[in-house]
């Protein structure tokens, strides 16, 4: 059999397997019959309407031009142009199967193109990976996401580390130069800057007497009010900030929320709900590289009269004082001394330079020769000079071996020694001259590219150095550590028990938090949360902290499943979730009494549980004014089944708002065309039900029974959350739907393994990988698809070592 036919058959066989919730893809005969019945009469040898022949169009999808022509075929059919209206029309179901087949084949072809790799494959690091690597290499905090730092990485279905998409342009190179300069200069300054220390508070209310201690004021932050700017003098060094404060939560109200805002970068550098008794303040501590900030209490709901606000108390002693505030300011405490609003009471703000820890010092030891001094000129004595270059050679070798994550040859290192020589000869002092060489090492492609393969000896698997990088960039988004390097040098890394031991060691290391945060962020496309900011008129309760809390919930949920090694089914359905006080009030759960994320048990009336009914997931598909059930369906299809539905045809009419003289209609009602028009139904019968299951959740994920409709006459209509899946199974709402997903967990498990492999191997999975992915999933089934088991099975599989 030809290779193409094998591929095609494998494709169809694989896609045909399992009890699918989406329609089966048509085998060869169905497609051929369809074309014969509806297409070939006008598009074959006898007649070529539109100068197009379908019978000779190759069924080969890796070639881009051919794939594009097939794409055109799909568009024409989906838009209803083909077959023409006066010709026999296909039924929705058969049209759907053929469109599915073409679309899936196009996707597979694209995947094959994207994953195509020659003898050597180069995968560029993403911004986050660059920053983590810089930290693990030299202990320098470099934020690649600051404006002007590194270029944003393009995403593919949420993943920002797909090798074929991460290209290199002059702009990238320029930024890598500057980034390397920043990192090296911070790690090895010529003079260590004197430590910076500072403090601010609201001053003395009552001086100390012999009988009584000094009483100081506390600064009151009521919701929305901004504190004065704090300027720490730092040259980009990390500063440790400590804030001593209490947080008072009113009965039945929201927790006060401390936001530390960097107003030059317009972003928050610390966020937390604070709930502590008035007389028992806590100290929050965090590190930052910003140089100035101010505090505010980021909760909404404080009355807005500017004159009254200007009278409202900004500092006080305590709530038991007979006169707390100005009589013409807002009342902040009731007559029993209880807070009426979420209030932060700040005692003091302190800051100091972060000292270089022992661990960081160890990373930097041996990188910079200690003699001569940094400001010294080149020695004039030739013997001394030669000895110096020898030392430089050794140091640079050690540094390059670590930075490039492999054994670096003498020839390669010599280029960098020459940089030192040139700089010194030009009159530069030793410090800057040697730093130039270090910067050059970090600006080499060997640093910011992961290289796999050998130009002279093609191979199918990675070698030990490459495997170490694969492991570390998968689990830590960063370079291998000394332990991994040691295993490579000992030649034992590829032994299964060694890999397993390394995996266990690495998942127990604190750096695993990088995986636990990054993988769900990319898999579930959480970057889309807040992309269309919800209209404040329609959603007055939505604020930045709610948005951030939503994303943190999903990450905390994944972290919990990971930490406790729970089965994959918990992603679909559970009786628990992770919430903070802000989310607990949004979900109308019982009020929490302490801040931070905590696990809560859910009751059936809470209508939550699993990933699919989390606010982040429900809101990332909305458009700022309303939910979009079709987009929700597409998301479920991608994230849960790993299947991207075919795109819509061009020029589809947007939904119209309800006319003022017609009864109010829900969005679902307006999507009736999807169910009634054949060309629409062919695809939408498989997409829409996946979104309609969540009709009870509005655009920001809040529970509702009625849909708020602008315009039109009558009351707001009740939502309809039922539906029929293509396999005929029905559901009444989200809970039913989750149950159906759990019953089909095998399918989800395979899709999940594919997502995990995409993340781990940094490339799109192709039809060639399908068998391996299925095997990994099958291997994890006896253990109920526990998350760590899947991880282990992936890491121990052949796929993980396949180039």
């Amino acid at each position: 059999m030809s290779r193409l036919k094998t591929t095609l058959m494998t494709t169809t066989l694989v896609l045909f397997s399992g009890t699918c919730l989406a329609a089966d893809v048509a085998p060869d005969e169905v497609v051929t019959t369809f074309f014969k019945t509806y297409c070939l009469r006008c598009h074959a040898a006898q007649k070529q309407e539109g100068q197009f022949r379908l019978d000779t169009l190759p069924r080969e999808f890796v070639d881009q031009a051919t794939a594009q022509r097939w794409g055109e075929v799909v568009f024409r059919m989906n838009s209803g142009e083909m077959p023409p209206k006066d010709e026999p029309q296909p039924k929705a179901e058969e049209l759907g199967r053929v469109v599915d087949w073409i679309s899936a084949s196009i996707a597979d072809g694209q995947a094959t193109r994207m994953a195509g790799r020659g003898p050597v494959a180069l995968y560029r690091l993403s911004r986050d990976e660059y920053a983590h690597t810089a930290y693990d290499l030299l202990g320098v905090h470099y934020d690649g996401k600051l404006p002007g730092a590194l270029n944003e990485d393009p995403r593919w279905h949420g993943f920002d580390r797909i090798g074929s998409l991460l290209t290199l342009s002059p702009s990238h190179v320029d930024r890598y130069l500057r980034a390397a300069d920043t990192v090296i200069t911070r790690a090895f300054p010529d003079q260590t800057a004197p430590p910076v220390k500072g403090q601010r508070d609201s001053g003395v209310a009552t001086p100390a007497t012999e009988n009584a201690a000094e009483v100081r004021y506390r600064e009151i932050f009521w919701p929305g009010v901004e504190g004065n700017h704090v300027h720490m003098s730092s040259g980009g060094e990390a500063m440790r900030v400590r804030i001593r404060l209490s947080g008072l939560q009113p009965k039945g109200g929201r927790a006060p929320h401390l936001t530390v805002w960097d107003f030059t970068q317009k972003r928050s550098i610390f966020d937390e709900d604070i709930i502590t008794p008035e007389d028992q303040p806590i100290v929050v501590e965090f590190d930052t590289t910003t140089s100035s900030f101010h505090l505010f209490n980021a909760v909404s709901g404080f009355p807005g009269n500017a004159h009254t606000q200007s009278n409202t108390a900004r500092r006080f002693i305590n709530s038991r004082e007979p006169r707390i505030g100005h009589p013409a300011g807002y009342k902040l405490f009731d007559d029993e001394g209880q807070p009426l609003f979420p209030l932060l009471l700040v005692d003091s703000i302190e800051w100091e330079s972060v000292p270089v820890s022992e661990e960081t010092q160890r990373k930097r030891d041996g990188v910079f020769p200690t003699i001569p001094a940094r400001d010294a000129n080149a020695p004039t004595d030739p013997q001394e000079l030669e000895a110096l270059f020898g030392e430089c050679r050794e140091s640079l070798q050690r540094f390059a071996d670590r930075a490039w994550r492999r054994l670096v040859t003498r020839d390669e290192v010599e280029r960098y020694v020459r940089i030192v020589q040139y700089e010194l000869a030009a009159g530069e002092s030793f410090g800057p001259a040697y730093r130039s060489a270090l910067i050059a090492v970090l600006t080499s492609k060997n640093f910011y590219y992961i290289e796999e393969g050998d130009p002279t000896k093609p191979r199918d698997t990675v070698n030990d150095w490459e495997l170490a990088s694969r492991l570390s960039y998968f689990l830590w988004s960063s370079m291998p550590d000394d332990d991994l390097f040691a295993a490579v040098r000992a030649g034992t890394l590829k032994q299964p028990e060694v890999i397993k031991a390394q995996l266990n060691r690495m998942t127990a290391d604190p750096r695993i938090a990088r995986f636990v945060e990054a993988f769900p962020q990319q898999w579930l496309q959480l970057h889309r949360v807040g992309m269309f900011p919800p209209d404040p008129g329609l959603y007055p309760d939505y604020d930045k902290w709610l948005e951030k809390s939503m994303v943190l919930e999903t990450q905390a949920y994944f972290a919990e499943v990971f930490a406790r090694n729970l089965p994959l089914g918990d992603f679909l359905k559970s009786d628990w979730t992770m919430v903070n006080p802000r989310l607990a009030s949004f979900y109308q759960l019982p009020q929490l009494t302490s801040s931070g994320f905590q696990k809560v048990t859910l009751r059936p009336e809470d209508h939550r549980g699993g990933l699919l009914t989390q606010a982040a997931i429900l809101s990332l598909t909305s458009d700022g004014t309303r939910h979009r059930p079709v987009h929700r369906g597409v998301w479920v299809s991608e994230a849960i089944f790993g299947r991207t539905p075919p795109p819509p045809p061009p020029n589809v009419e947007p939904l119209e708002p309800t006319p003022s003289d017609k009864p109010k209609a829900t969005i679902r009602d307006q999507l009736q065309a999807h169910a009634t028009h054949t060309t629409c139904a062919s695809c939408h019968a498989k997409i829409d039900p996946l979104g309609f299951a969540f009709e009870n959740y509005d655009a920001i994920g809040g529970w509702r029974m009625h849909e708020r409709v602008k315009g039109g006459i009558g009351d707001d209509p009740p939502v309809q959350a039922g539906g029929i899946l293509p396999n005929g199974k029905t559901f009444q709402g989200a809970d039913d739907f989750k149950q159906l997903l759990v019953a089909d967990v095998d399918r989800f498990a395979e899709a999940f393994v594919e997502q995990l492999a995409t993340y781990a191997l940094r490339r799109v999975m192709t039809v060639d990988d399908k068998a391996a992915i299925k095997a990994i999933a099958a291997h994890s089934k006896p253990d109920q698809y526990r998350l760590r088991s899947i991880l282990e099975n992936l890491v121990l599989s052949d796929l993980f070592q396949k180039r």
Binding site: G253, A328, L340
Partner: protein, 391 residues
């Protein structure tokens, strides 16, 4: 003629009169060397913030010699008691009006600013309320000539004092050469000490009112029933007073009362009605229902107006014990009266009217015991002059 003494007004003020009817220290208005009567028991209980007094106050009378009208404070030269030493050394008795303290002038509610210096006043006084002990500093003169009762619930001129008790004066004789007028009690008696015939100094400086216009004192004749206000005479230590004003007939008295009432009404509409907060019910965030008792120191027409216009909403501003506000036209808050209660026998100081006022923005000054000022929706909303405003 305007009937400015509605029945309930008399009843209300009769209640007050009972307080002031106690004579302390034997002060009498007579030029005879009358002996001091038995002193009645002092009321030296401290007042509680947020509570009207349960017992009557202590009677003091004297001439208004200093006034700090903005802060409702002043000084009285207490009536003479034939004591030369007092004549030489006594300092004015400094006092402050209680927040619910009432002032009457010409038979109508008034402010201190309406009363000319030199007017003889009758009052009812208490010890300072808890927390206000330092409001009035101790007297600089000999303490035996001062009084510890320095917070007044009531001050009224002779016109108001006697008219309210139903007593007037009948002219017995006018001696033009000696410039003296002898009068006797007419109508009800205000008390034993006022029953004797009294002789007052009178001369061309006395203002005499008849009908709607002025007259001269030489037109006074025996048999006329008059009201009069008193002021200083050189023999004040011997309880001798000069007549500052005489109202010869009913019409002139009615005109004077109505003019003062109008002055008062105008003042209240600009400064708003005072009361205090009994209780606040918090409804979450800045919403709440404030229970306010309005003070009884205002003309009843104003209270009627608040009741009849309450459907339009009311503004309330935070104030202090001096009844001064901060920036009431800016920092008041709007709301509506959701309940109107009337007490049967209100204590002295209270109007008997308690309202429940609901607002969306509670101020810090809306706390039990604190003073507030309330206006109708269509009363002037103006910035008061700077010396009147608190900062």
């Amino acid at each position: 003629m305007i009937d400015n003494q509605p029945t309930d007004e008399i009843d209300r003020r009769t209640a007050i009169s009972l307080l002031a009817a106690v004579v302390a220290g034997g002060v009498i208005l007579s030029n005879s060397s009358a002996q001091a009567t038995e002193p009645l028991p002092e009321n030296d209980e401290s007042l509680q913030p947020g509570k009207f007094p349960a017992k009557p106050g202590n009677y003091l009378a004297g001439e208004l010699v200093t006034t700090d009208a903005i802060n409702r404070r002043g000084g009285l030269r207490l009536d003479g008691d034939f004591n030369d030493d007092r004549y030489d050394k006594a300092q004015p008795h400094d006092f402050a009006m209680l927040p619910y303290g009432m002032i009457y002038y010409h038979g109508a509610p008034a402010e201190l600013r309406d009363i000319p210096l030199g007017t003889h006043l009758h009052g009812s006084f208490y010890l300072p309320p808890k927390g206000e002990e330092n409001t009035i500093p101790p007297t600089k003169g000999p303490p035996q000539y001062g009084s510890k009762f320095n917070h007044a619930i009531l001050l009224e001129d002779d016109f108001s004092f006697f008219q309210r008790r139903g007593q007037a004066w009948e002219v017995v004789e006018v001696n033009r050469e000696k410039a003296r007028m002898k009068v006797a009690t007419s109508g009800k008696s205000a008390g034993a000490e006022f029953e004797a015939e009294q002789t007052f100094w009178i001369d061309d400086a006395t203002r005499v009112w008849m009908g709607k216009s002025s007259a001269v004192w030489t037109e006074l004749a025996a048999g006329q029933v008059v009201q009069l206000n008193l002021t200083w005479s050189p023999e004040w230590r011997n309880r001798q007073f000069r007549t500052s004003d005489v109202w010869i007939d009913e019409e002139s008295r009615a005109v004077a009362t109505e003019r003062q009432r109008q002055i008062h009404v105008r003042y209240q509409k600009h400064h708003w009605l005072a009361g205090w907060v009994d209780h606040v019910e918090h409804l979450g965030g800045s919403k709440g229902i404030v229970t306010i008792t309005l003070f009884g120191s205002v003309d009843s027409s104003l209270l009627e107006e608040v009741k009849s216009k309450k459907a339009h909403g009311n503004a309330v501003a935070a104030a202090e014990a001096t009844l001064r506000t901060y920036w009431q036209d800016h920092d008041h808050k709007g709301g509506s009266i959701v309940e109107w209660k009337t007490l049967d026998k209100p204590p002295a100081g209270s109007s008997g009217i308690q309202i429940l006022w609901q607002t969306g923005e509670l101020l810090d000054g809306f706390r039990p015991g604190r003073i507030v000022r309330l206006r109708c929706y269509d009363w002037p909303n103006i910035k008061l002059p700077p010396e009147e405003r608190l900062h």
